[in-house]
Every structure is written in C-alpha cells, then in structure tokens.
C-alpha cells in the first residue's frame, strides 16, 4: 500500500449505512482518503429512537450519534455535513455539491437512504401535519406532544405505532388510521397484528382499520383541524403524523444514468454497473445470496451488513452479502424482534400465546423456517436467526412444544 498513490473514496449520505462504513474502514485500517458528504448537520446517528425514547424525551441528541464526530475526524476522515450532493459526473469522476464545490472521487459510495412518502391529498400542506424521518422532525413532533392534545396518525406500521406508544406515555389522545385490514400488514402475520391491536387498544389508542384518508380540514388559522375519511366523516385532530412508508432516494443515481428500479441496483458485492460506484443501505435494490430475488430492505441491519460488504469490496476482498435480514421494534413493554421475511410463508406456528409474558410466531415454507417474530422472547429470535440463516427444516410440532427447549433445535446439528 505504501507505494500506491492515495485514492479518494467519497461517501454520499450521512445515515446509519454511511456511519457503519466509516467505522468498518477505520477498524480495517483503510489507507485511502475518505470524505463523507451528508445533508443533515449531524454525524451519522441512530434513527430508531426518533420514534421511541428520543421522541419521548428520555435520551438526548448526543446519545443518538453512532460516535462523536471527533472520532472520525481524529482518525483522518473528512465529514462535510450540511452539504448536499447535487450531481455526479461519471466521465470525470467528480461530484458537485450544494456549496458550489466539486469533489473528485476514485470510488463513490452512495448511501443516500430514503425519504418519507408524502400524501398527495387536499390539505396535505397544512400546518400541524408532521412526517418523521430525521432529528429535526422528531424535535418538531415532540414539542407538540402535550397532554390532552389529539394526535391522529395516518398509517399503522412500525413508525406510526411506535409514535402511538410514545405519545400515549405523554397522555396524548391518539388515533391511528390504517387503510389495510390489519396493523403492520406489510411486515408481519395476523397473530402479531392482532397482538399489537390489543396492546394499543388497552393503552387507550383509538385504532381504525380499513380506514382510508382522503384529505385534511383546516381551522380558521390554517392549521390542521381534522382528517377526512373515504368512508365519510372527519376525525378531529390537533396534530397529524403521516407515516405511510419511505421511498428510496435514487434521484442522484438516476440522473447519473445508473440502473434503478425502486432502488439503486447493486450486486452481492454492492457494486452498481459503474465499477467506480457502489451503493448501500435503504437506497438499494440489492442481490443478497440469501434470497432468490432482488430485495430492497429498510432496516438498520441491512444498512450495517451492506456497509461491511462494501468495506470488503473497497479493500479488494470478495465477501458477498449473504445474511438474513432482521428487525426490531419497541412499543410499551413489548420488544418485538424479527428475523427473515415472513410474507413468503405457507405455514405459521405459534409458540406460547399472546397472553404469556413472551411468545413467538415461526413462519415456514416447504417445512423450512423462513422467518420468526418474537415478542419478549429473545431466545426464539436468537434460535430463529440460526434456523432462518441455515434454512433449517424443522418439525412444526417441536416448535410449538413448550417441553422442547428451542435451543435444542439448533445444537449439535450440521448445516445442510
């Protein structure tokens, strides 16, 4: 390495994937110049607490940072924060920034993440309508969470429900409107949806399923005052949170002519079709050897795992992305841990019951465990990680039998 000329690696994006990449490069003693360009004023930080304990005001901003900014800078990495990458010139290998400067890159890693999906409905621009994606959003929403206020959440997915739990803790009056017939439909099975429905109902949240939103009503002051429903009628609101998913941030890549399809297309080494450009995290539709088809994943685990893959690729190692995705969510006293993608299952097996302190749902396809959702039962998640990663065939009766220790299902067997 000493005889080689130093190259410059530019990372666009300052989220979890970018942060994990900086860390991995430092730990692996990457010899080249590294510059991170991030639109937010913060060094890479944890987003999950933005809907949970950070929103509830239980932890401070500094504690969100993956590391203090000085750690990266003392190690020689350059952080250009509060600056947006505007255009990639692939022929000249440069990238122009919003502060009118231009950066030269030898290799470019796109970690542009995602942005919230906005509702395009009458009144959607009214004051008092919030989205939740970054620290500033969470700060703005927290200020409004005052006891007795009426918060209407559009969307009953992870973010909407986590906010419902955090807001309820602050004695806010919460209503959740979900267009689908059950909560978290995109990511979990009916047993879990039912369990979370009960949990939120018991906490006093007004949950309305099969409820599509058509627009927003304004007060005389031009502030949101209600949410109008497709079924007719209006739900009065002082604050609205729209949490209806995210869209991968691919504009920069698309403008540069890189193939995108609801995500920047990358292979199992996180390479785009341009040998100088790689992409990681929420913004990618990627090949993961664990799956049969291209996937796009919105998760910390994917961001971190792809960051490790791209670090290996940058350093000339061949380490394909090959891990089972996993997720978690905290709501009230419930810790939900999930591994695998459950939507492709043909059989569900319940271990324990939702009335127990902890229980789990195993999702099988062709007799193999492809996903596990565990509620306050980390052992099911940990065993599930192994079963899913190894595509283990397991007798469903054993999964549900409380007399059989879950651990015994993974010990002492060889991997096939």
């Amino acid at each position: 390495m000493a005889n080689q000329q130093k190259e410059t690696t530019v990372i666009v994006g300052g989220g979890h994937a970018a942060g994990a990449l900086l860390t991995t490069l430092l730990q692996k003693k990457y010899q080249h110049e590294v510059v991170l360009v991030g639109e937010e004023p913060h060094p890479p930080y944890q987003r999950p607490p933005l809907s949970k304990n950070y929103l509830a005001g239980e932890v401070d901003q500094e504690s969100l940072y993956l590391k203090p900014r000085s750690v990266y800078e003392n190690a020689g990495h350059q952080l250009r924060l509060g600056v947006r990458a505007e255009q990639i010139d692939r022929d000249n290998k440069t990238i122009s920034l919003s502060d009118q400067s231009t950066l030269k890159y030898d290799r470019l890693v796109l970690a542009t993440g995602s942005h919230v999906r906005r509702l395009n409905a009458p009144g959607a621009d009214l004051k008092g309508i919030h989205y939740l994606h970054d620290i500033a959003d969470s700060d703005a929403l927290r200020e409004q969470l005052v006891p007795g206020k009426r918060l209407v959440i559009v969307g009953g997915g992870y973010i909407g429900l986590e906010v419902a739990a955090s807001a309820t803790k602050k004695s806010v009056d919460v209503t959740v409107l979900e267009a689908a017939e059950r909560l978290m439909q995109r990511v979990t099975g009916p047993e879990m949806s039912e369990f979370f429905y009960t949990k939120h109902s018991n906490a006093g949240v007004d949950l309305r399923l099969n409820t599509a939103v058509t627009g927003f009503e304004a007060s005389d002051q031009g502030h949101v005052a209600g949410v109008t429903l497709a079924s007719g009628g209006t739900v009065p609101a002082d604050i609205v949170l729209v949490s209806v998913g995210v869209v991968p941030e691919t504009a920069l890549a698309e403008a540069a002519g890189l193939p995108c399809d609801d995500g920047i297309i990358v292979d199992e080494f996180t390479r785009t079709e341009d040998p100088a450009i790689l992409a990681i995290g929420d913004c990618t539709r990627h090949r993961n050897l664990f799956f049969e088809k291209m996937q796009r994943l919105e998760s910390v685990a994917n961001a971190v795992d792809q960051a490790r893959t791209v670090a290996a690729t940058l350093m000339g190692e061949k380490k394909p992305y090959n891990s089972a995705p996993w997720f978690w969510s905290n709501q009230y006293d419930v810790r939900l841990q999930m591994v695998g993608l459950s939507q492709y299952h043909d059989q569900r097996v319940l271990r324990g019951s939702p009335e127990d302190k902890g229980f789990a749902v195993f999702y099988l396809r062709d007799g193999c465990v492809i996903a596990v959702d565990a509620v306050n039962l980390p052992i099911a998640f940990m065993v599930g990680k192994t079963l899913v990663q190894q595509r283990r065939q397991v007798n469903p009766e054993m999964l549900k039998d409380p007399d059989i220790e879950l651990k015994s299902l993974v010990s002492g067997q060889s991997i096939n």
Binding site: T23, L66, K67, V71, M382, K407
Partner: protein, 106 residues
C-alpha cells in the same frame, strides 16, 4: 472519569477512558474497539456486544437480566461472567475494570 481495559480474543489490549453513565458497549464503539458491534444501538435487540467480565469485576457489573440471559444463551462462547455490553452501565466504581471480547459476535 475512569479507565476500562478491553482485551480482544487475540489478547490485544485497548485501554479506553469513560464517563460514568455510559454503557460498556458505547465506550467500546466510541473508541473503535474491534470485536464489539452494537448494531442495535443498545436496545438489547441484536446480541452483538457480548463481553466477558473479569471474575473480580463481575460483582460490580451484576448478573444479566432475564431477556439478556436469553440473548446470551445462544453464544457458543458463553462464560459464567458474560454480559451484553449495552446492558452494563458504567459507574465510577468500575474504574480499572477489564473485560474480554469473544472471538465472534452473534
């Protein structure tokens, strides 16, 4: 303020300074100690911050909670003084503590 020593599986030692109130995982992450990932940011959700506390110090850190115990029970490198680093909140009394890192995180 105090110091904690992390010893990697290959016996490489790292001494890190701490402020009370931080977790063992966060101290390791802030100091780029290899072998502790802390992917979930300290929510006891991922099991990637396994440390093995030196016997003499285990009394100070205390034993794992029920859910932490379940997370730890799956690591083949489980020791009697294993903890998840994110669940050990540092106090001034832990100045001088030594923790060992496993060869692999889960």
């Amino acid at each position: 303020m105090g110091k904690i020593t992390f010893i990697e599986h290959d016996q490489t030692e790292h001494v890190a300074e701490f402020k009370a109130g931080s977790s063992v995982m966060q101290i390791a992450v802030d100091n780029l100690i290899p072998g502790i990932d802390g992917d979930c940011g300290g929510e006891c959700a991922c099991g990637t911050c396994h440390v093995i506390v030196s016997d003499d110090w285990f009394r100070k850190t205390g034993t794992p909670g029920g859910e932490e115990e379940q997370m730890l029970s799956m690591t083949p490198e489980r020791a009697s003084t294993s903890r998840l680093g994110c669940q050990v909140v540092i106090t001034d009394e832990m100045d001088g503590m030594t923790v060992h890192l496993p060869e692999f995180q889960m």
